[in-house]
């Protein structure tokens, strides 16, 4: 899962991106309105965390402009907690609204809910034959036993499981599993897929040659 954090305060931006990376997300960051809008419209993010007050143009303005082209889930994170501000944010196209100071766990839960909703799911666990993917705990279990996965392997499994039954292209996987700073060598994905197959069984991920990967 790849997220974009748009926040002008350097300390908070750093704290958010680090915290989210530790939660197995690929995270990009932007410091002002124009940069945030450029990144958000360029790449496919699974969710965007958007601050209200930004230099350049503010979060509400950014939302209005972004919604002309993208439907990426957006969680607004701002110090303005007045009801009109919330209404303005939600009406401009925000999917959720959280005021500062927030609880980090709550932010994570809301992000999970946002991503789940946008991919059509409704619970935080996905079961594929004998394999259970717990999105909240970021764990994969096989017959009740936790399977040790690296963060990127987990991201791969989670993304494919959330898009279960669909063929996900390599480009899309690259977009959603790696952040802008990561070196995305073209065979890196194959390495991760083969590692996951070793851990969870060869038939867990099927390859559609020329199209991409899929969890049936």
């Amino acid at each position: 899962m790849r997220l974009l954090v748009i926040e002008d305060d350097p300390l908070l931006r750093h704290s958010l991106t680090e915290g989210l990376r530790e939660e197995q997300y690929a995270v990009d960051a932007a410091a002002d309105g124009p940069e945030g809008l450029a990144k958000a419209s360029e790449s496919g993010y699974d969710a965007i965390i958007l601050d209200g007050m930004l230099p350049g143009f503010d979060g509400w303005e950014l939302l209005l402009r972004l919604r002309r082209e993208k439907t990426t889930p957006v969680l607004m994170l701002t110090a303005r907690d007045a009801i009109p501000d919330r209404i303005r944010g939600l009406d401009a196209g925000a999917d959720d609204y959280l005021t500062k100071p927030f609880d980090f766990e709550e932010l994570l839960a809301r992000l999970r809910a946002l991503i789940r909703r946008s991919s059509g799911g409704s619970t935080s666990t996905i079961e594929v034959s004998d394999i259970t993917i717990d999105i909240a705990a970021k764990l994969v279990r096989q017959d009740g036993e936790t399977v040790p996965l690296t963060p990127r392997e987990y991201r791969l499994v989670e993304y494919l499981a959330l898009h279960r039954g669909c063929v996900v292209s390599r480009t899309e996987l690259y977009e959603h599993l790696f952040d802008e700073n990561e070196d995305s060598l073209s065979n890196l994905l194959d390495v991760h897929v083969s590692n996951v197959r070793k851990k969870l069984g060869a038939s867990f991920i099927s390859t559609r040659r020329g199209h991409g990967y899929c969890i049936e």
Partner: protein
């Protein structure tokens, strides 16, 4: 209940009104009664006199005088009174008078009765000797008594019982009429008092609604020229100011809490992240560093808020001393030199001595805010020019940078609390947008003003003007207090200074062209008199 009744303005007004009206009506009624009574008595007296005249005419008609032109003597009268003849039948008019109750009696000089009319009451007495004619009320009788020491005394009277009764009836009617008038007046007064107090009630009700929190409501004023209209106007003005103050307070509190949210968020987010799993010491250090930066930002914000809150208090003006603004500015510029180096900015000082009466700490804060803004905001590599200028009636501080200027849209709100021209919150330097608000607040509490000029070519220039009126004036020489040494001083340019300083420090400045920074110091070890003498000789020519 009664107590509350008498506290009511309406009832009090009515009570006074009733008393005054009662006194007035009683007065008028009594006057009317008195006048009517006097008039009636005077008429009666006239009637009695005319009866007397009639009696005498008849007396002399029955027994005429021998010579018609002679004056009747007392003897003539006495004769005729002894034998009056049938007077009643001689004159029908007199007969009529006798029957309607008029009576008359005469006594001789020695007191023997000469004549008594048949209808006279039995208890008639000879009048006592008196020079004047007497009018006497005796029971229901009204009598006129005349006494002539050489001749006869007479008494003529009439039964006035009927007239008295009439007068009493008139009095009763008058009383009833007055009472009715009083009651009608009371009713009118009650109505009038209620009518004139109604606007006050309205004002009271509106005011209590406003006090209950409905700050947008105002008293409706029908007529602005009368007393109540003016009262309403005054109250409305007060409410306007009050609601402004509350609005400002609300906005300030909202802004302050808003500004505190970001650092609190950082601390919460970082600590939650840190506690989630075991980490390397290096990571803990990094997280603690972030927390510390956020906490420092909060501290500086809280300090700024405290400064502002203090400046907002009308009483706290700090310690007011006469100090040199140039001195204060130089001190601050020294402190900020490292910041200037960091931004590769040159500080140019043009500091002329500028005595001012104020709180040196607050003034230093003003300079510090202005200079650090000028250092931080424009791009690196510029110049910051600091000038102090002494003018005849004021002192001026200018801080000018060579940056790209502030765009015109921001200028009007530049001194607002929490206003930031770049709208980017949480800059690396942690400015909360309170610096210029503090500057303005301090300058205004010193009775001065602050202006800003900005253009893309000429950079931004802040100009603080402080009045000189507070500066300590010229007792040109004063002697030491308990802890410090005071001295009056007259500058070459005609300005008067008061020095309050420590002797060795003052001495060390002799000949340097600088003036002592005015502050309190411990008493000098050596004899201050020497210094005073020195000061005397130095100032002798100038004072």
């Amino acid at each position: 209940m009664m107590g509350r009744l008498f506290q009511s303005v309406r009832w009090t007004m009515l009570l006074w009104y009733a008393l005054i009206l009662l006194a007035l009506i009683t007065g008028v009624c009594m006057l009317a009664y008195r006048l009517a009574s006097n008039d009636r008595t005077a008429q009666l007296d006239r009637e009695i006199r005319s009866f007397q005249g009639s009696f005498f005419r008849t007396l002399f008609t029955v027994h005429p005088l021998p010579n018609k032109d002679d004056r009747a003597s007392t003897e003539d009268l006495r004769e005729r009174l002894r034998d009056p003849g049938d007077l009643a039948s001689a004159s029908p008019e007199l007969h009529q008078l006798f029957t309607s109750g008029f009576y008359i009696a005469f006594w001789d000089t020695d007191g023997t009765p000469l004549y008594t009319s048949p209808n006279a009451p039995a208890d008639l007495k000879r009048p006592k000797p008196s020079k004047d004619t007497q009018y006497v009320d005796r029971g229901k009788l009204r009598e006129i008594l005349r006494y002539d020491p050489e001749g006869l005394s007479s008494l003529a009277g009439h039964d006035v019982g009927a007239e008295r009764g009439e007068l009493i009836r008139f009095g009763v009617w008058l009383g009833l009429g007055g009472g009715a008038l009083w009651l009608i007046g009371l009713g009118g007064g009650w109505w009038l008092a209620g009518r004139s107090l109604k606007p006050i009630d309205d004002i009271g009700r509106t005011a209590s609604r406003i006090a209950a929190g409905n700050l947008n409501e105002r008293i409706e004023i029908a007529n602005t020229d009368n007393e109540l209209g003016r009262l309403g106007q005054v109250l409305n003005d007060t409410f306007d100011r009050l609601s402004d103050a509350i609005e400002r307070q609300k906005r300030f509190t909202a802004d302050a809490s808003h500004e505190l949210r970001t650092p609190v968020t950082i601390i919460l987010s970082e600590t939650q992240r840190a506690l989630k799993r075991e980490r390397e010491p290096e990571q803990y250090r990094e997280i603690l560093g972030s927390c510390r930066t956020a906490a420092e930002r909060m501290r500086s914000l809280v300090e700024s808020l405290l400064v502002l809150a203090k400046q907002d208090l009308p009483t706290s003006n700090g310690t007011r001393l006469t100090c040199d603004l140039a001195e204060v500015t130089a001190g601050v510029a020294d402190l900020l030199q490292p910041l200037a180096d960091e931004h590769a900015t040159k500080i140019v000082r043009e500091l002329a001595p500028a005595p001012v009466h104020g709180d040196p700490h607050s003034l230093a804060m003003v300079v510090q805010n202005l200079v650090s803004n000028a250092l931080v905001h424009p791009p690196a590599g510029g110049t910051v020019r600091i000038r102090t200028i002494a003018q005849p009636d004021s002192v001026c501080l200018e801080v000018a940078d060579s940056g790209p200027g502030i765009s015109a849209e921001h200028l009007p709100r530049l001194f607002d609390r929490f206003y930031r021209a770049d709208s980017a919150r949480g800059q690396v330097n942690g400015h909360a947008g309170l610096g210029l608000a503090i500057v303005k607040s301090v300058v205004e509490s010193h009775g001065g003003k602050i202006e800003v000029d900005s253009s893309p070519q000429g950079g931004t220039c802040f100009r603080v003007t402080l009045p000189l009126e507070g500066a300590v004036p010229p007792p040109w020489l004063q002697f030491p207090g308990q802890n410090s040494v005071w001295g009056g001083w007259r500058q070459g340019n005609g300005e008067h200074w008061l020095l309050n300083t420590w002797l060795p420090y003052w001495r060390s400045l002799q000949g340097t062209g600088r003036t002592a920074y005015l502050d309190r110091f411990p008493p000098p070890d050596d004899d201050w008199r020497e210094w005073i003498d020195h000061l005397k000789t130095r100032t002798a020519g100038q004072a």
